[in-house]
């Protein structure tokens, strides 16, 4: 069997030939392990993306959260808090719509990320994961595929959000800024997904993952500038919100979509994204690889 099997026709033959080959050649016994090529990684990830997309086709209800979440949050915040917070912004509900929509968009990645952990935990505890892990694939492929599909869901949720936002009166000032914020949201969202994937792999059941996600996310979301300006908050809370990466993310989106300074917040967001990914992706893949 060749060390780097070519992807297509010859491999089937190689597999067929494997038994006699490997059983009679002493060299096979001494050889080290063969690495998996980048092309093979992409092929495996692609096959697993197809699997996760078929899940959605099989169970369209799984898209409900991606539809309902942006609808409910937009309506809730705009109509319940919009009037009063808008006043403090020196306008009314309209002013609040312009304020909160970039924030909600920034939040989309985070909410999708939370779901990744829960879903992956259930998937991980099913027998099919043992089968995947007994196949000659890069084990990161399973995680990459999950993240790719969740990012697609997130983009879908973002599109729903923008639709509702326009319906409740959001004025798109800068299309390039809008696209840039979507991109940033994807970057930050995928970084968070690694965090939740790690939780999903390490925690015992889906309920704990969900509870844990809720515990972490609630203070981070509400203790940020996503829903309301931080100016009126007490000093101790402002210290928290100022260092909260979600504030930086929301403020960057706001700057990009509405105009205003973005440089500092953009850097903070990017550093957080890169940092989380650099630390958590290897941890998640390692945990996935070694979990018994």
């Amino acid at each position: 069997m060749s060390a780097h099997p070519s992807p297509t026709a010859t491999l089937d033959e190689a597999l067929r030939a494997a038994p006699s080959d490997t059983l009679t050649t002493p060299a096979a016994h001494l050889k080290g392990d063969t690495p998996i090529s980048v092309r093979a990684h992409l092929r495996h990830t692609g096959a697993l993306i197809r699997r996760n997309l078929l899940w959605i086709r099989q169970d369209p209800e799984s898209m409900f959260d991606a539809i309902l979440f942006p609808v409910i949050f937009t309506l809730l915040f705009v109509y319940v808090f919009g009037g009063s917070i808008g006043k403090s912004l020196g306008g009314g509900q309209d002013a609040y719509v312009q304020y909160v929509v970039p924030g909600l968009m920034a939040m989309m990645g985070m909410n999708m990320a939370q779901g990744v952990g829960t879903g992956f935990n259930q998937d991980f505890n099913s027998g099919v994961m043992d089968r995947f892990r007994s196949l000659p694939i890069g084990r990161g492929s399973v995680l990459f595929a999950k993240i790719a599909v969740e990012l697609m869901r997130m983009l879908f949720a973002t599109a729903v959000l923008m639709l509702v936002a326009v319906l409740v009166g959001y004025d798109v000032h800068r299309w390039d800024g809008l696209l840039a914020s979507v991109g940033l949201s994807v970057v930050f969202g995928s970084a968070l997904m690694w965090v939740f994937l790690t939780l999903g792999v390490t925690m015992k059941n889906a309920q704990s993952v969900q509870a844990m996600g809720f515990l972490v996310l609630m203070p981070l979301q509400f203790g940020s500038s996503i829903f309301a300006p931080t100016a009126s908050m007490p000093g101790w809370l402002r210290n928290f919100t100022d260092y909260n990466p979600l504030s930086a993310l929301a403020d960057t989106a706001r700057g990009l979509m509405e105009g205003g300074p973005v440089a500092h917040d953009l850097w903070v967001t990017l550093i957080w994204s890169v940092g989380l990914t650099a630390v958590m992706a290897p941890v998640a893949i390692h945990k996935f690889r070694t979990k018994s």
Binding site: T22, L23, R131, R133, I137
Partner: protein
């Protein structure tokens, strides 16, 4: 050069295990297990729940690493060459490990792609195996809607996609009703006919006898007996005859008569008053005939006579002197729950 997988009985071993140890805290799941499976044979690993069977399979399929010891499968070391090893094995788990949300065809196509088949080859292989395992009609339905037997067949098909040299069947029929169990056995026998080496774990003596040529009995992480099926059966007292006289009052005299004649196996005849039957241990067909002859000569009318294989419990009792710890008696209703969970 002497290799670890040179089989003592000649030829090369497809699976060689030496001193395998895996502890979970205080629990010794495997406590120094040795095993040799010759190429092209079926090795049955018999033991109760918690004996370490599944741990063994999980180590041999690279899902977990051993704490100590060595294992070589088809020439590849489980710890040092896991990726190469994964190319030559097939795994069928205790609970059907197929994706329930995906249609049967998609399950097989996915595995084909993950095994680096081209799209075209993966499609062809999926079609071929669905046909082979009589699942073509259900190809487009989600596997979650399949019956227990269909799911196991899909699971078997999935493990055959890569044309494995070694196939692990981890309790392939646990929780299936007898009819479905026979169905799975037929499939497994056909697979064995194609030359693959099989490592089968089971809790059922009957299953081991149906499928395996050699048997390793494990208990609490240790091998307590190994050998050919016939040899082990003889050691544990072979089969039993269950005889039901029409008149329950004949039970005792009949038992005494058989023991006096000395035509029964190693153990003595036992009277089961609850069911109104006698359990007569026998070692051969000649003994069976002799028992029937003696009953007839005595002029006792019997309403039924059946042969029974020793249960796992009996095997354990005679090999270890203690009962198998918590053997599972799964009914079809339970199995549905298990599969659903």
């Amino acid at each position: 050069m002497t290799r670890i997988d040179d089989n003592p009985a000649g030829g090369r071993s497809a699976v060689t295990v030496r001193g395998l140890v895996k502890h979970y805290g205080e629990t010794k799941a495997l406590d120094g297990v040795d095993l040799d499976v010759r190429e092209g044979t079926v090795m049955g690993v018999l033991g109760p729940n918690g004996a370490g069977k599944t741990t063994l399979v999980r180590i041999l399929s690279t899902l977990i690493t051993p704490d100590a010891g060595e294992a070589v499968v088809a020439g590849y070391d489980v710890v040092r060459q896991p990726r190469q090893l994964r190319r030559v094995i097939g795994l069928t788990g205790q609970y059907a490990s197929v994706d329930e949300k995906l249609p049967g065809w998609e399950n097989l196509y996915l595995i084909g792609r993950l095994l680096d088949l081209s799209r075209k080859d993966a499609r062809a292989r999926a079609d071929e195996l669905l046909e082979r395992f009589s699942l073509t009609e259900a190809a487009r339905r989600p596997a979650g809607t399949y019956s227990g037997g269909m799911r196991r067949r899909l699971d078997l098909a999935a493990s055959m996609i890569g044309r494995p040299a070694v196939l692990y069947l981890d309790e392939p029929t646990t929780g299936l009703d007898p009819r479905t169990r026979n169905e799975v056995w037929t499939e497994v026998k056909a697979m064995v006919g194609s030359g693959v080496t099989v490592l089968l774990t089971t809790q059922y003596m009957e299953e081991a006898e149906q499928l395996a040529s050699e048997l390793t009995v494990v208990d609490r992480g240790k091998v307590i007996a190994k050998g050919g099926i016939e040899e082990l059966k003889a050691r544990v007292g072979g089969r039993s005859l269950r005889v039901r006289p029409v008149d329950p009052l004949q039970l005792r005299p009949l038992a005494d008569m058989l023991d006096e004649l000395g035509i029964t196996g190693l153990a003595t005849t036992t009277v089961d008053n609850e069911t109104g039957t006698l359990l007569v241990p026998i070692l051969s067909d000649e003994q069976l005939t002799a028992v029937v002859g003696a009953v007839t000569a005595r002029g006792i009318t019997i309403s039924s006579i059946t042969t029974e294989l020793p249960s796992l419990d009996e095997v354990f009792l005679s090999l270890t002197g203690h009962r198998a710890s918590a053997p599972q008696d799964t009914t079809p209703a339970d199995s549905l729950k298990e599969v659903a969970a």
